[in-house]
Amino acid sequence: MPASVLSRQLSDNGALIERHWRELNDRRRLYTTLGLAVLALTLFASLWFANDSNAGKFVDRLPHFFDFVGDLMPRDAMEILRALFDLPSPYDDGSFKYNYPEGRLYVTDSLYIPEYVHKMLETVNIAIFSTLIGAFFGFILCFLAARNLTPSAWVRGPVRRVMEILRAFPEVVIAGFFLAILSLGPIPAIAAVSIHTIGALGKLFFEVVENADMKPEEGLRAVGGNWIERVWFGIVPQVLPNFTSYFLLRLEINVRASTIIGAVGGGGIGELLRLSIGQGHQAKTLAIVLLLFATIFAVDHFSAWLRRRLVGDQAFQLAQ
């Protein structure tokens, strides 16, 4: 760029524009710096607070960080497989640490399901069952919460509020409440996960419905279809692929959720994992972690594959 261009005197108007631009730029820089400073400050304050209220201090505990890896080493690698498939261990000394065959669930006299596989199936079943229940009620509620199908704000508002509360209500509390009424078992977990799923899927569903094409519905309205007919024949066929996709996404999340709820509320593999980590049973812990990892991985990939088939690439906006 020639120097004469840079040194050229600007007209009043040009100088004004340049000044405004500078001010704007400076202000934006200032805001960015301030924002980052506030973020950093909050972060350090939070870290200090977290460290202060933790049982072990970060700096003290850091050298012991990988202790848990040592805690996890079984006596030999085959132990993990033995724990996983309930085979007798050569180290068996009668303690709970090596009593792998005791959890066997016999189907016939010789054929058995290993304990952890059985519990994992239970957890996955909890997830599927409660996702189905949640999706059923979410399906019913979502049409009442959609602006284009329910014009009355008096219906829409309360339905949306109910879904928000169901979504934000801590799952631990629902599980704990049902645990107090029902006996120990998978039903508190089912209740907790289903109730949360109603809220979560209801919200995703009604957003899909609000984006649906209204022309089929108008057509049905023109020939005198009532509300249910309009929804069932005009809207449902368009939104069903997206609904299924969200259903599968939720299923992935619920497999994880039902594991955690199982750990606190009894039932499923979560409880076994918590117990075996707490008691320091290395091979058992690793077997469960391996099984959980494989299951979650399989469910995630199966659902991703199915979703891609159903709705194409738009299925990959992750939502919770």
């Binding site: 939070s46 049982a55 202790d67 009424i181 078992g185 039903i187 955690i260």
Partner: protein, 504 residues
């Protein structure tokens, strides 16, 4: 007109006959939804059996569910009316009564009387001793003296007077009251009155038939009266237990040990503003604030600290996760880093972090750092590095290449290409995803807390396990809901500013 456009049945048939392929779907297509439905029904039936839902629901204690739910927003005051065999009574409220140490509520009316007791436990003891001394007398020469002293003692006991309750009237509400006097319990509820005789030890006999709100398992056993939401009562041979339920949270600000307990807001305000110092060492305001924070029943300070921990866990975990995921996602995106091996390695690493769930990480880190928010932060950080990394690299793979080419074509170095060609496209998406996960982690941080990873989860879980602190559970749930809604709106507002209207 709708009616005129609707074809008649005959016309419909004609149309259907002409376009049969439109009206009748092929048998294969018709079968598919039906098969799915049958499969679903079969699965549901299987699950019903697998979880033995029917059995569990039938054996559930539904009666107690109502009580637990009522406990969320109300509390019980529990006077116990003890009935002696002679018909006199004593009323006690238990050690942890919400009414404080020496309650005298106006809904319990007591008629008191001074009674001189002749036979009482200490008297019996003296009697026994005097008997012993009299047998001693028999042998000893100074019999008269000993007998006199024994008689003295006995008169001292006999002349001891005591205040006892002769009649107690407990008013639950206008339609419900219980009157106890002279070993007769008269309970009135919903216009019906039942009179129950007690004997002061273990027999309970109702006069006449019991109304539907009263139950007795067998003759002579205790009778339970339930008055719905106003409370209930249990009548035993020597005791009437009253359970009177009041709406609200008892002693929410000051517990019964606080000097401010039982005072109206006006009185408390006056004490704080102009009263004499209760504790000479500090002002009334700081005393009141301290009493509120360390309220033994509600533990406000502890609850708030734990809630802050939960918030901090979600915040720090998400910030760190996005900071680490940010550079890694460039390695994972195949249009940015051409090496297939690096792409796959980083992507599988993300998959690993994600699939070893937040819950497992939480259990491990609780062992590494001890229970507390550090474990929660690390768990969220590990899981979300995986999730955010995956999402970020997908966002990178979907960018528009033209901007990059433009920057490249003017000879910019690789760093500048990323900075000016890629970042402006993805930064709003990145920030929006991070905000979204911050919000959703605020919710999930509650539950990993319950396994020991810090925050309010464990406190919540402990409060529930006692089955008697449901009002504390309600309080914490309310706080959590408030926090979640606040962060929801903050994150939503930020996200819609970042992404425009389509950001939702």
């Amino acid at each position: 007109m709708i009616a005129s456009t609707k074809p008649s049945a005959l016309e419909m048939e004609a149309i259907a006959a002409r376009h049969a392929h439109l009206v009748q779907s092929s048998s294969k297509e018709g079968l598919k939804p039906m098969l799915i439905c049958i499969g679903l029904v079969l699965y549901l039936a299987f699950s019903w059996w697998f979880f033995s839902i029917g059995h569990v629901l039938a054996n559930a204690n539904w009666g107690i569910a109502g009580t637990y739910l009522a406990d969320w927003v109300s509390y019980e005051v529990r006077p116990e009316i003890e009935i002696n065999p002679d018909g006199t009574m004593a009323v006690s409220y238990g050690r942890h009564s919400p009414l404080g140490k020496d309650p005298n509520p106006e809904w319990v009316m007591l008629d008191k009387e001074e009674v001189t007791r002749a036979i009482e436990a200490p008297a019996a003891a003296t009697q026994a001793r005097s008997k012993a001394s009299s047998s001693f007398n028999f042998m000893a020469p100074d019999a008269a003296l000993g007998a006199a002293s024994a008689a003295d003692q006995q008169t001292a006991v006999a002349s001891r007077t005591e205040e006892v309750v002769t009649r107690a009237v407990v008013t639950y509400d206008r339609a419900t009251r219980i009157e106890v006097s002279d070993k007769l319990v008269a309970a009135t509820h919903a216009g019906e009155t039942v009179t129950i005789m007690v004997d002061g030890s273990d027999r309970v006999t109702a006069q006449g038939d019991l109304p539907p709100w009263a139950t007795q398992k067998r003759r002579g056993a205790k009778i339970t009266l339930s008055f719905g939401l106003t409370g209930w009562a249990e009548i035993e041979g020597n005791e009437v237990s009253i359970r009177n339920r009041f709406f609200g949270w008892a002693n929410f600000l000051f517990d019964t040990n606080s000097p401010f307990f039982g005072k109206s807001y006006g009185e408390v305000a006056r004490l704080i503003l102009s009263g004499d110092r209760i504790d000479p060492a500090r002002s009334n305001l700081s005393l009141a604030w301290d009493n509120i924070l360390y309220n033994a029943e509600w533990q406000h300070l502890d609850v708030w600290t734990k809630l802050l921990q939960t918030v901090v866990m979600a915040f720090v975990g998400t910030v760190f996760a996005s900071l680490i995921a940010f550079p890694l996602c460039f390695l994972a995106a195949r249009n940015i880093t051409p090496s297939r091996v690096t792409n796959q390695l980083v992507k599988r690493f993300f998959d690993f972090l994600r699939s070893v769930d937040m819950f497992i990480w939480a259990l491990f880190f609780t062992r590494a750092f001890g229970p507390g928010p550090l474990a929660g932060i690390s768990a969220i950080f590990f899981t979300d590095t995986g999730t955010l990394g995956k999402l970020y690299s997908e966002a990178l793979e979907n960018i528009d290449d033209k901007q990059r080419e433009g920057v490249k074509s003017v000879g910019a170095p690789p760093i500048a290409v990323q900075r000016f060609g890629v970042l402006p496209q993805v930064l709003p998406v990145f920030a929006s995803q991070a905000l979204y996960f911050w919000e959703s982690n605020t919710r999930s941080a509650t539950i990993i807390g319950a396994v020991g990873a810090g925050g309010i989860g464990l406190k919540l879980w402990e409060a529930m396990r006692t089955n008697s602190d449901w009002e504390n559970v309600a309080y914490m749930v309310l706080l959590i809901l408030m926090v979640v809604f606040v962060f929801d709106s903050i994150s939503n507002a930020c996200r819609s500013r970042l992404m425009g209207r389509s950001g939702h």
